[in-house]
Symmetry: C2
Subunit: 246 residues, 2 copies
């Protein structure tokens, strides 16, 4: 599996993805799932991928090919809006999956992929979108301005907290990391290193970083998080007889 | 869906289940999923059910029928050990699901159910077991002495904490409730009232309670939990340049 998330905040966008890949319980490996595209100075895209690794790699290769091969193709350099970029990636994803469908179906495998696409095209508001294997997309809502793909359940609660408290980019990055750490702690198919992109709206200059498994920062974060959760549990109210319908 | 959990502690056992049932997004209703059986004074069983509601009801009816109808059947009164009780419930579950399989398959429905069974039979150690739709079972391990059925991912992190810190029955009950509340907050198919059973080993006297949606205790618990998580997020370390491989 995979866990990738993106958050849309007042100040900017955050993207975080794990790197673990596996085929069943075997062939566990490390692949980047967070990809940055900046085809022209007035546009920036971050694409996060979950699903069949061969499909996501072929989609990425086709995106690159369309960008760097001269011609009149649609590409991330030509789309006018983020939603058009989402439809473009969705079309590639559907085409790749469809081409391999029959062969994969024979061995009971699924060649589909799901993507998160975010970024900014000058003149439009920055945004994040989720692209379904069917090629259509949804935006993050204003009420819940985050999106997740892959193993999204374990780490959802921290993202909900972020939403509740209108946090800034720095705090949101911490929240994204606790969401990732909670997920990796609960599910073997998600693991470090983690790839992070922080984008401040209007700058067209992303901050990109990788956080490794042995990072002292990650250890500090995990320790502080666990300590507070333990304290929270100790301070939770105890059930009294009057609280219950027995 | 459903969320039921059980924990096996030094002092005793905890069972907690939600009550929401649904068919798709419709026909949302409230049914008890935590059931207590005490057929003789020297044995106590708690059975939690997830899956097809018709199947779980028929299984419960057959358990009752076997208990109260005179005859030489196997029943919860005759089994010698908890693992035999698990195999007995597993057999009923498989029989009921098999009988309705063809009719349900015609409409694309699944009639299977999964159970958590816990309790004590005098002379044996108290224990908790998970019964698969196939009728076989697993025990909780010593390293991770809890079991979950239904929507188990959202609320797993708090149970992991409990394990890490060797808590007592009172604290474990709080942890079980935060696990339930976190799950219900993230997933519409899980909701109050919540049914709780606390069992102190060797007593054969369970404490049973229902916690309603409008319970002031539940509001206090949710408020304290949210406050601490917010504080935790604020105190998490901020990423410094040196922490990252950029």
């Amino acid at each position: 599996m995979t866990y990738c998330l993106s958050m849309r905040l007042q100040e900017g966008l955050i993207f975080l993805g794990d790197t673990r890949t596996n085929a069943g319980v075997d062939n566990v490996s490390t692949y980047r799932k967070v990809h940055l595209f900046q085809p022209t100075p007035d546009r920036l895209f971050v694409l996060e991928a979950a699903g069949n690794l061969a499909t996501t790699q072929e989609v990425l290769d086709r995106i690159d090919h369309d960008l760097y091969d001269p011609g009149a193709h649609e590409s991330l350099a030509t789309v006018g809006h983020l939603f058009e970029a989402a439809l473009y990636v969705g079309r590639l994803s559907r085409e790749v999956a469809a081409r391999h469908h029959a062969a994969l179906a024979e061995v009971g495998a699924d060649g589909t992929a799901t993507f998160l696409l975010g970024g900014e095209i000058q003149g439009d508001d920055p945004d994040i979108l989720l692209i379904y294997p069917e090629g259509n997309y949804i935006r993050a809502s204003d009420d819940r301005p985050f999106l997740q793909i892959g193993e999204s359940k374990y780490g959802k609660f921290t993202l909900e907290l972020a939403v509740a408290s209108q946090v800034n980019l720095t705090t949101a990055t911490k929240i994204a990391l606790t969401s990732m750490v909670s997920t990796a702690g609960a599910n073997l198919s998600v693991g470090p290193p983690y790839d992070l992109v922080i984008y401040r709206n209007g700058t067209f200059e992303p901050f990109e970083a990788r956080i490794n498994a042995d990072s002292p920062f990650l250890s500090r974060l995990e320790a502080v998080w666990a300590k507070h959760l333990h304290e929270a549990i100790v301070e939770l109210p105890t059930i009294q007889e009057g609280d219950l319908e027995t």
